[in-house]
Point group: C2
Chain length 397, copies 2
Amino acid sequence: MGPGPINADPRVLRAMSAQLVGQYDPAMTGYMNETMALYRQVFRTANEATLIVDGTSRAGIEAALVSLIEPGDVVLVPIFGRFGHLLREIAERCGAEVQVREREWGTVFTPAEIEEAIIQTRPKLLAIVHGDTSTTLAQPLDEIGEICARHGVLLYTDATASLGGNTFETDAWGIDVVTAGLQKCLGGPSGSAPITLSPRAVEIITARKSIEAGIRAEGDPVIAQPIRSNYFDLAQILDYWGPKRLNHHTEATSALYGARECAVILVEEGIPAAVERHRLHGTAMVHGLRALGLTLFGDQSVKMTNVVGVEIPAGIDGDGARAAMLGDYGIEIGTSFGPLHGRVWRIGTMGYNARRDTVLLTLAALEQVLRRGGVAVTGGSGVGAALDFYAGEATAA
Amino acid sequence: MGPGPINADPRVLRAMSAQLVGQYDPAMTGYMNETMALYRQVFRTANEATLIVDGTSRAGIEAALVSLIEPGDVVLVPIFGRFGHLLREIAERCGAEVQVREREWGTVFTPAEIEEAIIQTRPKLLAIVHGDTSTTLAQPLDEIGEICARHGVLLYTDATASLGGNTFETDAWGIDVVTAGLQKCLGGPSGSAPITLSPRAVEIITARKSIEAGIRAEGDPVIAQPIRSNYFDLAQILDYWGPKRLNHHTEATSALYGARECAVILVEEGIPAAVERHRLHGTAMVHGLRALGLTLFGDQSVKMTNVVGVEIPAGIDGDGARAAMLGDYGIEIGTSFGPLHGRVWRIGTMGYNARRDTVLLTLAALEQVLRRGGVAVTGGSGVGAALDFYAGEATAA
């Protein structure tokens, strides 16, 4: 019940245990095509260029940034948590001239602030995190695409923490490139990074395409300034996932099976139903934590559905309490990074773990741990508040 | 029965279906430590810095090269197949001044040729493929480490295709950095790249360490020329796998389970026994193919145990024959790349597929496909030669 990775859906684990098939077996290329179609639904996009990068979610981020950024490009990164710093760092390593704007952790940017920063810095690319798990908040993006389009700026966002459990609209919000991971609301293991690219992004990237000498044919162009990475060269990866099937890496078959099954499950449930499930159980958790006397962290009006931060109460050993949760009850909760390390616990309700039983068990165990840690708690208060909330929702429904 | 990926060992698939645990759960960090210890045995090394890069085998290559190479460094790449071209390409993208030497596909370099190239180019790093699946040959490396040490050159090799099925001695051969993948002799899925780094390589890499702003503490140094990739920054990855457990990516848990099980199986069997098993079944396949009248490709004195190339006979449709093998018999065999595409078939006997039944079945099916493709074959010749070979080996043993 931490901020992710979480328990995987058993269906995903079962899918991953299927025997491998060859890289160009029609069954395998068929799975690849199915996976592309499924993730178009997950990302809510018509982008043909929707596929999986073989690596963890930050592999997806780096693939997007290194393929889009040419050394010297101006990239604007609004930072409101740890993963904004990560975007800055990756963009810097890609050779970008990075401009940052920072908000205090626990807040997000207004559209006007972002537009002002665009006017001041004139970037080629705006790179911004959607949900930053470090603070539990999601940057509203529904107005940002229009602002970027008006100023001729490409828009990239990292939706690892939010996708599948929070409303996310790639096309309706006008986002050029989105990357994600499986280990949050999608209910799978870390190791696969779904990505979608708009036709405009594809055009920029394919203009930088360089074909490997070992498989180059006569007449293929040689690019003077190729993408700085081979593994993350989306121009090549698009040719591997596309009808050309030009050999690049050897697709991680088991991971592909897992990524495909995560999307199958989500599409079967329906994206709006999955978002509603995350809202329901996330809110129940919030009610329970408040009733235990805990103070929530950050601007709750923009909190993600699937994770909540609470201030660690005075007098209790935060890491000791987390160790007790794990050692005595088998439940993991997280702390956070940088300025929030040791100050905030983060508790997730996401993917397969966004369930009533997990919420109630976590609250019951936390009550015991808080009490033994010397925090005054009213017996049954957390579980009671969550149950009352569930009852109210059931009546309203 | 292609050149890899191959069928995974069912034990590996079962290991991968275990439920996830949290990133810093003592069970998880325990698995990580066990995996490091196991791969020290697989690589035949005492290197503390032995771990898994989360990505396919070329992710391991890129992690090694981008972490070792500073822009402007001279890197020497002797090329004897497609994957040598890949090393060149990745090194170029890392900003290296790459010097290449090329041998005709189907041959390898002599130690003297490599020493001469070192003297001519004075590289910081020699990057060379061990077994290049594109040609089925393995470059002998047992004398190369000593040559590199004498000239103060770092030695990197890609052992993806060979490790676990051919003799490979990281420490005894004096190799600084080795990377691999699971999808060949290790009997697992693509998606994890084992890597080992000598203390000298670790020293070079950690001198370039830059800690992410989002988790940087006061007093941590800021490096002017950090490693060009964040995802492949081995200095950071070493801190994640080491006792500091400094957060980097979220470890791909299922893939780790798989990588660990591959090594458990190999260490249980014993590395020499596994190499001998690959030799036995690889040689049986060779006898069978020759008896079917096929001509082997390349210098057989340096052929890898686990894959063999044969010239596609005149008059037969090579791709049609491969399609018949897959469609009618469920057996995949490969062609090759570049100059060998459509000229050579590659047939593997590796990992879980290095078995007597797979060899005999493949030969039986290939006989049928050759005959129907218009190639004159003597009924039972391939299977018979393989059976005779097995019988001879059993008598000798």
